[in-house]
Amino acid sequence: MSPLPYTDIKPVGAADFYLAINATFRFVLKKLGHDGLRQYWTDLGTRYFAPVTARWKEGGLTAVAEYWRAFFAAEPGAEVEVIQSSNEVLLDVKVCPAIKHLRAHGREIVPCFCEHCHVIGNAMAAPAGLTVRVEGGNGSCRQRFTSC
């Protein structure tokens, strides 16, 4: 069974969808403000990604590592190392595929774009008894998933 809850018949996604993700954040920000955007991300994390949370709850950090390995393998242009240790899963994002693609296409990146990883990540992780801390951003970062 794939570690991903929703699977496609093609191995990697179409990078132009990053343009739509960035545009969606900009639209929510414009219509509903920053609180609205944070609510959108939180609802995505707790509702759309609920199947991921269920697997993390059952499988712990091993399930977290399996998910992110499969996730970044399907994101075009990602350069990410997923390192599991006894007390955490570290995502060492050397090249963020979304920021890379948006820059390559000259798109104005929503200033709080990187915040979505923290908010969605925590919304997914909290019900599984986990938390995420994010250092860096703007094209490369380190995300640490640990038990609360």
Binding site: K10, G13, L19, K31, E75
Partner: protein
Amino acid sequence: MLGCYDFCGHYEWTFEWFRQQGGEPLVRQYWDEAIHQDSQRHAAALIAAKGIEGMKEYWGHTLADEGAGYHCTATDAVYRIDMHECPSKGFLIRNGLHQYHDYCDHCMGWIGPLLKKSGWVVDHEHNHCGQCWWELRRANDPTPPSQPGKHDVRLRADWKGPTPHDTYSRANHPDDKTVS
């Protein structure tokens, strides 16, 4: 991180989230402002500048990237797409994802206003099962949609399908449809 691999899943989920926040008008604003005018502004620029040649350039590349099963034909007057396996609707069906009441409306939601701005109208029909056809003509061209021909999705045995069809005639708005 929100990824592009399952984009169609969270995109469709987002339609319903917007509907709950601001009703159908907010969903339509999203398709027009965020997708047509922001995300897909490169498509708008290509089609405004090159007409049918721009359509060939845009859809030839994006449909292939998305893994669609489709066939495109063009003359000097009309650009036609026969979508036999819509990659996004197919993704939703295969994964059992259904939050918003009519995912297929999103295509007309952003393509309709985009084409209107450049002086084009749309004849279109979809069956909500991942098959549809499109004919794009200049707004001042009164030619009716073509009869079924080679590669035509309407000739498929499963075209009629179990769900109602939405049909658009010389339209530019997602709500300018008849349901049959």
